[in-house]
Symmetry: none
Subunit: 400 residues, 2 copies
């Protein structure tokens, strides 16, 4: 149901913490959360409503976009972020409604055939050098501004900034990346009449880049994919009546939350600096989102011990957050990232909701297995926000 | 799925008990159900299928209409009761298909501006006096019968009884209540061509009432809202093949169950009288619904002890119900009403299904926390009736 019609505003404060990829799997019988010495989180779990959430659907492993959309109450099956847009957000590009974003690879071509889709994973320094050269030589095409930004190794991002608003119907162009080596690149064919302009700029860009890169040994070609524009999504304010901010170190999470209309606050450093900022801006917002990245990063590295340590480090800062005395405090993850898998996974994610209006007393610690005993049960990620709003007394009764 | 196609009739008997608003939250660590000394319910829970139900959706607090619709298997998001209809049902008016019902307030107007939407909450006696006066002077408008009934304080109900059937499309008229003071009342504007007649009667009624009330100090005006007709809902008999009756002291619950096609039996008193009636009519029905109101009333008063006592009082009568030996016995609530919140809430509601075909042995008592361990898990309210029908062996196999 659309809960926007039930929203009532009040002065409560909500702190919503994502420990990115916090869910895990046992190695030597214990998951990362079970192995971590985290007395503060565990004590909080004892008096909170606990459970697990399914980010998208049973068995589905979410990317960062769907993972965050879900916990913020935006159905990831309804709202999708294009590959190009996600890449741009991850590189810190502030996208506008007049932008088409693309994910690009440097690649190796020989006699018209792609022999390496990743140009031998060239060093990032080489990527920076080449992207700088392309940027200086290709500033605009047909009156459309060209913005390039290096990623890691062979990856970079292209944004076409038009002088007018661009819709998703105007950016329906086939990827040039054939996804397989030993084949020629595909043409950037427009899928409808309205996308001809974007396709033509892509075609010219490829041609100009090929000329500029022709003497490179490895990175002598480029492949484009994920033509996309920023999605139309009702803002947090419109959907929930919440003045929201996002505290995140990594650009991608600032970008995702900016799409949801949160004010994205810049912060350098790690947990300590983020919590310092949280305390500083606490009075200015109804809803404060805190994103802790490195739990996921160590999971993706398969570094069980480092993921455990990062959870423990966060635990040490929890009393500072609790001292703000938010009306509702949520701790969860956007998805699981078991060190065992070295990747995001489909497993349900522990979730904890602290409020004055819970049963509590059902779990002994904040872990995958203990949270199964909690009062929330196993819930879809998109049910978390209605529960958060209910617990902050921000939802009116439904029906007479 | 539509289970109507799977219905098979038999001679089983189902007793379905709603302890209105029974779910609660801890005060001094115990919920109302946990604090109550209720050996009979607890012993029954030990051998029953237990769990919790979500009345409408996660985080959604239901009104009485959606709460009852859900547990009876009618999706509250699909079937809605209008404000006017609910008010009429609550006052014991037996609505017909030719009726348009409205919720009305006595109000104070000065120089065309509403200065008090509730006329200073006039005493109910004053309301009765004024409503009698209006009733005597306004018996019909344009051939449409006008039925008025006093509620508490400033509230009353207006029913327009037409000589013909009226559909919801003919009753789409804007509320005259501006919902804020310091503003003029709104005109009863019809939202479509078909609703002109209803709007015109409303306009004339307001004018006549204003003239009759003009010398009143406080209640010198009336505000109308919630223009509505009784919804089209498949009856219990049609949907489930059940001959059903409803035993409820309060008119609203008799009204809601009459909408579902149950025979509504009048009873004065409280639990004792209701159970006396249950025993008396037991042989006449397949499905007997028993509604215990005051559990909710004390919850809404914030009177934890009185709510506990009312649960204990019901417990004392349970052996009488069990002695009837129904094939399936259900005990649940339509929603939670924690004394802590003094209001309906969004929390899952304990549910118990006693039948010969359950696992049992999973819970020690009928409480919010114990029911989490039960075999039903946390289920949507609309899943209760299919389970009840299955346990009474009234559902055929689906598919070959």
């Amino acid at each position: 149901m659309d809960i926007s019609s039930l929203i009532q505003k009040n002065d409560t404060k909500i702190v919503f913490i994502i420990l990115d990829g916090v869910g895990g799997l046992p190695i030597n019988k214990k998951t990362e959360l079970e192995a971590a010495n985290k007395p503060n989180i565990d004590n909080l779990a004892k008096v909170s409503a606990c459970g697990l959430h399914i980010p998208v659907a049973y068995g589905i492993t979410p990317g960062s976009g769907p993972g965050h959309f879900g916990v913020f109450g935006y159905d990831p099956l309804q709202y999708e972020i294009g590959r190009g847009v996600l890449e741009a957000l991850g590189l810190g590009i502030e996208l506008e409604r007049s932008d088409v974003a693309l994910r690009c690879n440097y690649a190796t071509i020989k006699d018209g055939i792609i022999v390496d889709r990743r140009a031998g994973r060239i060093p990032t320094e080489k990527n920076i050098e080449l992207t700088k050269k392309l940027s200086e030589k290709i500033k605009e095409i047909n009156g459309v501004k060209i913005i390039l930004k290096s990623g890691k190794e062979h990856r970079f991002c292209l944004v076409m900034r038009f002088p007018k608003t661009i819709t998703d119907k105007q950016a329906m162009v086939i990827d040039t990346d054939p996804q397989k080596e030993g084949q020629p690149p595909q043409e950037p064919v427009p899928l409808n009449e309205e996308s001809r302009e974007v396709a033509e700029i892509a075609r010219q860009f490829i041609k100009m880049a090929e000329e500029l890169l022709k003497n490179e040994e490895k990175a002598n070609y480029i492949l484009l994919r994920g033509f996309s524009v920023i999605p139309h999504i009702p803002s947090f304010d419109k959907k929930y009546g919440l003045k929201a901010c996002s505290i995140a170190v990594y650009p991608m999470y600032r970008g995702i939350t900016r799409l949801l209309g949160m004010e994205t606050l810049s912060v350098e450093g790690d947990i300590k600096e983020e919590i310092g900022l949280l305390k500083k801006v606490y009075q200015n917002y109804d809803f404060l989102f805190l994103h802790i990245k490195k739990v996921d990063s160590f999971g993706e590295d398969g570094n069980f011990e480092a993921k455990v340590k990062k959870i423990e480090e966060f635990d040490g800062y929890l009393p500072e957050i609790l001292s703000l005395n938010p009306d509702v405090l949520v701790i969860t993850g956007d998805h699981s990232t078991p060190s065992l898998l070295k990747a995001h996974s489909w497993h349900p994610v522990p979730v904890l909701i602290k409020s004055p209006y819970v049963l509590g007393g059902l779990v002994n610690s904040f872990t995958e297995r203990e949270c199964l005993k909690g009062e929330l049960g196993i819930i879809p990620a998109i049910s978390i926000m209605p529960l958060v709003l209910a617990n902050s007394l921000r939802l009116r009764k439904f029906g007479a």
